[in-house]
Symmetry: C2
Subunit: 317 residues, 2 copies
């Protein structure tokens, strides 16, 4: 953890988002402005990941990484922010890796490692500050929903990234909702992730190609029965996800991101319709106005890398 | 809100829990010890509630309420802890009431009003401190699940009562899970509360009398098919509630209370079996060990009144 005096440091930060297909890095000033951004393809394996993270850090810092105050890394899998250790990163062929220590040793500057969804929540909350009238990103509760390869939530409460007692806070993808729905690789049946994720939508709408959600919405809008049925399943599951996160945490902002949401506004309209349908029968729900709290994460901003940088100074529990 | 200097005040506090059938009051020392407790039946209507709250406060303070530092009141319905105003307390025939202001004017001491489930969470967390190895009640996340007339959760994070952006944090009772299940008076269908509540169990097991849950468990243990079927629905819904709250917040303690739980240990065994069944197919879930975090709220302690007193000094967001 960093101290308040370090926080007052005005030196820039590096933020790095390690994804399944690309690694993205940004150089960020003390006030959260992105000065420079770099992107490289991901290579699998622990040695490659450490090497590539160090290389992109040097690159984004113009060859002078020691001029920055610290490096923040966001990465999938099980992350221990206290030690910088990661585990079970199946997509990158990594069982365990002392990512934080190895990168810090190599670059000679402090490194903070955070789960990628939590980092994205920090970055998106920073960029969306003010869109709900709140002037301070660290005020109140913000939940980011990542509809990606899987489904998970990043939860920021009063500026503190909440990991929970065992690091499982926000692991809503494996809440089983409908026991008659699909088998989940986790062993349960009907997990929200089996529908609310890129692969989930692709399974329901295999004709949709690499952006099944967009294709599905187009065909449903044309009244095709199969598409309407499939979209009905997806929008119902998204409605469940939103009610679960919103009625548990009552966040002021619910931010949607991940590959499944790249459709953008048309998907947001589908979700709003689903919420309106639910609200039409329930004054309690209507009064909570969850639709007003929904935001798409900025589509062309590196929220993961930005958030990884800002997470260096965010308190994390 | 009270200040740190007030918190250091060693004068006792009064805590009052206003329930549908009884009002309970405790006199609590600065270190959270209950010195004296009083109980009276509840009378409906705003004037009666104010009158009875003031009377029980005087009574529990030995006729000298001005010797105490403050009064904390826990009460159902919509509560604004900032103003002490309550609304929509249908069970007590109250539409709106400036409860905090009226009681403070009458007694001449500060009054803090809190939602009853949140107050119970504070009280139970205080009494259960140490049962999971945590020495400080204000460390980490504690969720109390109240299976009463309705279903709701009280959420305490690092000692702060979390209300959410619109006061709806913990309102999990009206998350609809199975659209083929029961109509809910809220207008939705399949709300968790339609099963996980005293009235919900009583509807599934009408032969069970005033403690349907206990009777249901006894008959299911004897292998009666109808009881096994009804208990299957209840334990499945409780499992859903626990996964929703635990995978969203990852609390260190999940405390069960409310009339439906008065069965005690036999119910806890049923819930543990349900979680074991779920864990048997899912290593991810098994690794989270939610069953180890479950606690019954202390059965013979006035957790609502105690928590209302302690909530006077708890930060509330």
């Amino acid at each position: 953890m960093t101290t308040q005096s370090e926080r007052n440091n005005t030196r820039p930060l590096i933020g790095i988002d390690v994804g399944g297909t690309k690694i993205e890095a940004v150089l960020v000033t003390g006030d959260g402005t992105i000065e420079h951004a770099v992107r490289i393809p991901t290579r699998r394996g622990a040695a490659h990941v450490v090497e590539d993270v160090c290389a992109i850090a040097r690159d984004v810092a113009g060859g002078r990484p020691r001029d920055v105050a610290a490096v923040g890394i966001g990465i999938p899998g099980q992350v221990d922010p206290g030690t910088g250790r990661i585990a079970n990163l199946v997509n990158l062929d990594i069982e365990t890796l002392e990512l934080g220590r190895l990168v810090a040793d190599e670059l000679g500057i402090p490194v903070h490692v955070e789960n990628d969804v939590n980092a994205a929540a920090v970055g998106a909350a920073h960029l969306l500050t003010g869109t709900d009238g709140t002037a301070d990103a660290s005020d109140g509760t913000v939940a980011l929903l990542n509809f990606g390869t899987g489904l998970a939530s990043g939860i920021i409460i009063d500026g503190v990234i909440r990991h929970g007692a065992s690091g499982a806070a926000g692991e809503i993808g494996h809440i089983p909702i409908d026991p008659n729905r699909f088998d989940c690789p986790c062993g349960q049946r009907g997990c929200l992730e089996t529908v609310c994720s890129g692969p989930g939508v692709a399974r329901l709408w295999p004709a949709g190609g690499h952006d099944a959600m967009t294709d599905l919405i187009i065909h449903a809008a044309q009244g095709e029965p199969d598409a309407c049925r499939a979209l009905g399943i997806v929008r119902h599951a998204i409605g469940d996800v939103i009610q679960i996160i919103a009625q548990t945490l009552d966040p002021r902002l619910i931010i949607l991101t991940g590959g499944m949401t790249r459709t953008g506004e048309p998907l947001l309209r589908v979700i709003r319709e689903e919420l309106e349908t639910r609200e039409s029968v329930c004054p309690f729900l209507a009064g909570l106005r969850f639709a007003d709290r929904l935001r798409l994460a900025p589509a062309n901003e590196p929220i993961g890398a930005l958030g990884a940088a800002l997470a260096v100074y965010a308190r994390s529990r």
